[in-house]
Symmetry: C2
Subunit: 110 residues, 2 copies
DNA sequence: TAGATGGTTAGCCATGTGGCTAGGTAATGC
DNA sequence: GCATTACCTAGCCACATGGCTAACCATCTA
C-alpha cells in the first residue's frame, strides 16, 4: 500500500525536480527548455527527468529529435490526499482533546 | 526557499517513517511503543526517528529513561500547501485551455 | 545494590543517489 | 551531404542512506 507514495515523495524531495514540476504546471515543455535554467550537465538533468517519469509524475513523447514532457496530475492529488488525511486526523485529535479539557473544566476536576 | 520541503518530503518518502507519522497522529508515544510494530533493530529505527525530528516533523522529550515523541503539525501543512498550489495551477491551466477550446469552437475556427 | 529496562553511540557494510565526462545516434538545417 | 542540434548511453566517483552488531549509559525495581 505504501509503494507509490515512496517514489512520489522521494521524487519531489529534490529541489531541481520540484522546479521542473512547477514549470510543468504551466504547460508541457521540451527537455532542452526544462534543462536551461538548471546549472548542471544534461545527462545529470536527464536522470532527474527519469526519476519523475518513473514515479509517474510526468510523461513524455518524442517527436523527431525533441522530447516533450508533460505533467501527470493524479499522483499529485494522491500524495496531497495522504497529507490531508494525516493533518485532519491530527486536528481531530486536538479537537477531542480540547473537548475533553472542556468537560474536565465543567466538572471542576482540574 | 526549497530547503524545508527537501528534508520534509525526503523524510516521508520512507514507509517506516510514514507509519510512524500515522501512528503519531493518534497521539504521542514512547520510542519503544513506536518501534514495536517494525521488524528492525532498535538503532536502525532510532535513525528513522532522528530523520523525522531533524526534518521538523516530530519533537521528543526524555523523562527518566523514556523518550516520548510527538508530531509537529506545521510542516505537514506547508507541504500539503505546496502540493495544493501545484495542483491548482495545473487545474487552472486546464481550465484556461478548455475555455480557449470553447472560444475557438464558437468562432467556428476548428 | 544488582538486574532489568529503555535508549544511545560507534562503527561496519551494501546499495542508492546525484554529480561528472566522453562518446554515440538520429533528426534537421544549410 | 555535412554540421548542428537534441537527446541518449555508459561508466566513473563521492557521499548519503538504511540496515546490522556490539557495547555502553542511565534509571527504575526488587
Amino acid at each position: 500500500m505504501a509503494n507509490h507514495l515512496d517514489s512520489f515523495f522521494s521524487a519531489i524531495s529534490d529541489p531541481t525536480r520540484r522546479a521542473v514540476i512547477e514549470r510543468l504546471t504551466r504547460g508541457p515543455a521540451p527537455v532542452s527548455e526544462l534543462h536551461a535554467p538548471h546549472d548542471m550537465a544534461l545527462p545529470t538533468f536527464l536522470k532527474h527527468l527519469k526519476v519523475l517519469e518513473t514515479a509517474g509524475l510526468t510523461r513524455s513523447v518524442k517527436k523527431g529529435r525533441v522530447r516533450t514532457v508533460h505533467i501527470e496530475a493524479a499522483p499529485l492529488a494522491a500524495a496531497e490526499n495522504w497529507l490531508t488525511t494525516q493533518r485532519k486526523l491530527w486536528e481531530g485529535r486536538l479537537g477531542r482533546l480540547s473537548a475533553l479539557a472542556e468537560r474536565l473544566e465543567k466538572g471542576g476536576d482540574a
